[in-house]
């Protein structure tokens, strides 16, 4: 019987490098699973082929029996956000997949980007200038200028509509798992991070610990919920619901190694086509979370999609925190003791 611990290997003496961050070649074995554990699995979400159909969101909710909610996570509520076609708003306790919609535009000179027979096509529209992002669609006051007749020809502004299905990253160094005081969050044999709902006591610590804002507490329930990467389906040999539902293979599920190789190829292909702005996100094992189990191909800066540009697992700094906590505690003891030294009053 292998002992599975929800504590970080760094604190159990199994990780000789005492790492709280950086690459971990075998994150599953690192947690005490026997050597014949399954390969680490994950998602590669290629947003360059996402059509924003939200089938992933619906399939996820259907399979995991999540409640309807609005963009703020309020259960059994509806609401139009005005954020393009996104009325899901965010990942949370009730939405484990979230498709972001980003409308961008910029002025262009005609002719439009080249289109021709295969081979000559450049695939995506290259963006030479940084695109103007509209966090909120401009109010009418600011659009008066744009309605000047000279600007009303149809082709003078180039539109780009980015769509991206976000999900829990199943980090190599998962802050939610690290900070969970009950052991409710644990690393599965597939290398994924899952909440055990019968253990969670709703302390909520994982919520602000996640550098991506993924996990959240469900109102009126108190516990926290997030993507399980369909742990129940994986154990039955099925792939996650979202990946099954995705019509364009924007969401790809598989062994992480294979996905990474595929993603590298895809990126190279896009870069060869001259698609500026294409980049992998969460692929780099030397990043602040040791690489993600669910990683992405993006077409713009991560923050455009609501993703942190350079996330770092908060527990990377935990040794420093504990040192400071210890020093502070010692200081309290010392100083209070010193107050009793000498004088009687």
């Amino acid at each position: 019987m292998t002992a599975i611990s929800s504590a970080s290997a760094a604190f159990r003496g199994q990780d000789r490098g005492n790492r709280l961050f950086g690459p971990v070649p075998d994150v599953t074995g690192d947690r005490g699973y026997a050597d014949d554990h399954p390969a680490r699995v994950g998602f590669f979400t290629d947003t360059s082929v996402c059509i924003g159909c939200k089938a992933c969101e619906v399939a996820c909710k259907e399979w995991n029996l999540l409640p309807m909610d609005d963009a703020e996570g309020t259960v059994d509520a509806l609401g139009l956000t005005g954020a393009s076609y996104d009325n899901t708003g965010m990942l949370g306790a009730n939405s484990w997949r979230h498709v972001a919609f980003v409308e961008q535009s910029r002025a262009v000179d005609l002719p439009m980007p080249t289109v021709g027979p295969p081979g000559a096509a450049d695939g995506q529209r290259p963006l030479e200038d940084p695109p103007v992002v509209h966090p909120q669609v401009p109010a009418s006051a600011t659009t008066a200028e744009q309605s000047a007749p000279s600007q009303t020809a149809s082709g003078d502004r180039e539109i780009r509509w980015l769509m991206s299905s976000d999900v829990c990253k199943h980090c190599t160094h998962a802050a939610c798992l690290d900070v969970c005081p009950t052991g409710s969050l644990f690393r599965t044999e597939f290398g994924t991070v899952v909440v055990q709902e019968d253990i969670c006591n709703g302390c909520g610590y994982c919520v602000p610990a996640c550098p991506y804002g993924v996990i959240d507490q469900r109102q009126d329930d108190g516990r926290v919920f997030k993507c399980t990467l369909c742990y129940d389906r994986l154990t039955d040999g099925l792939q996650p619901a979202c990946a099954s539902a995705c019509p364009t293979e924007s969401i790809q599920f598989g062994d992480l190694d294979a996905l990474q190789a595929r993603a590298d190829q895809r990126l190279a292909a896009l870069q060869e086509k001259g698609v500026e702005g294409a980049r992998l996100y969460g692929r780099d094992e030397t990043d602040g979370v040791g690489g993600a189990g669910a990683f992405f191909l993006l077409l713009d800066e991560p923050e455009v999609y609501g993703l942190p540009p350079d996330p770092v697992v908060t527990t990377r700094d935990l040794p420093a925190m504990w040192r400071s906590v210890g020093a502070g505690a010692a200081m309290v003891l010392g100083l209070i003791a010193s107050a009793f030294v000498g004088r009687r009053r």
């Binding site: 942190p308 908060t314 935990l318 505690a329 107050a339």
Partner: protein, 311 residues
């Protein structure tokens, strides 16, 4: 100010989730735990140095504070009935787990000590439990700082070195202040000194938190947190000044102690609020990370250029 022009976000929505911790539960939990921690140390030393009145006040403060602190913590849980799950494992990566393992024995020990005081019996046990509580009293004052700092909340996390010191000082100011206010003048000397030292440390360390971390220090100076912390500063400074008079006047001692306690409470609320504000505005998450990413990209390209020159 960092140039706002470059900042982009997804419809202004936060990137990280703000803590779900409730207020006033959690700020009060922070305050009460801190005050109880320093009081427990004060109480044990007072007991050891034969200051029975100070010992009694400090131990009652510690016991009461610890119990209330536990109550607030449990109330804040999403599933309070499962609070014992906190003690299901001990995880050093989780300040809340470590804290629970500090808080649980600490509250048991301080409650026992305070109970012995109230019953006027079991003096030996009281000394034993009081000493035990004192050992845990130090960590009680500071682990909550790690609790806040070990999150992705920018203004908390970036201040992870200073916050334990702030909380230590604030705990001393509060514990010292409360015991100063409630103890007869002739035994309250150590409490006054603890209060004054605590206040000084709180003010100094808080100043670094409020100014030492660039953009993410901003939430400590603006908005509701800014107002709270400004008031906290005034209370703490005035309370600290009044400790000079507190040796002579019970009234001055009471006012001083109350001001320091209020200052400490407001500091906790202020720190809490600043963190919430930094979590809710994506700017505080994105901009420092963006700057860091740019810097590492630049470093990487410099390194690449260097290696090209070298070859």
């Amino acid at each position: 100010m960092v140039d706002e022009v470059e900042f982009t976000s997804y419809y202004g929505r936060p990137i990280i989730k703000p803590p779900v911790w409730k207020t006033p539960d959690v700020p009060l939990y922070l305050f009460l735990g801190g005050a109880a921690g320093s009081s427990a140390v004060l109480g044990a030393l007072a007991e050891g140095t034969r200051r029975p009145a100070l010992a009694r006040v400090a131990h009652l403060t510690a016991g009461g504070g610890a119990l209330a602190s536990v109550a607030f913590l449990i109330h804040d849980l999403g599933r309070p009935s499962r609070f014992l799950n906190m003690l299901r494992v001990l995880k050093t990566t989780s300040p809340l787990s470590v804290g629970s393992w500090i808080l649980a024995p600490f509250s048991a020990l301080t409650t026992a000590t305070a109970g012995a005081h109230l019953l006027g019996r079991f003096p030996l046990l009281r000394r034993f439990t009081g000493a035990g509580a004192a050992v845990l009293g130090g960590p009680m004052t500071t682990y909550t700082a790690a609790l806040l700092a070990d999150t992705a909340v920018p203004s908390w996390h970036e201040a992870h070195r200073e916050l334990p010191v702030v909380f230590a000082g604030s705990a001393m100011a509060a514990g010292g202040g409360i015991t100063t206010a409630l103890t007869p003048l002739d035994e309250a000397g150590p409490a006054r000194r603890v209060a004054a030292m605590g206040a000084a440390i709180e003010l100094a360390a808080m100043h670094r938190v409020e100014h030492g971390h660039g953009l993410v220090s901003e939430p400590y100076r603006t908005g509701r947190a800014g107002k709270l912390l400004k008031t906290a500063r005034a209370c703490t400074a005035t309370g600290a000044g009044l400790t000079l008079l507190a040796g002579r006047s019970r009234t001055a001692a009471a006012v001083s102690g109350a001001l320091l306690a209020v200052g400490s409470v407001l500091t906790r609320f202020g720190v809490f609020d600043a963190g919430m504000a930094s979590a809710k505005d994506p700017r505080y998450t994105v901009e420092p990370q963006r700057a860091r990413a740019r810097a590492s990209e630049a470093a990487a390209s410099r390194a690449a250029a260097g290696s090209r020159r070298g070859s």
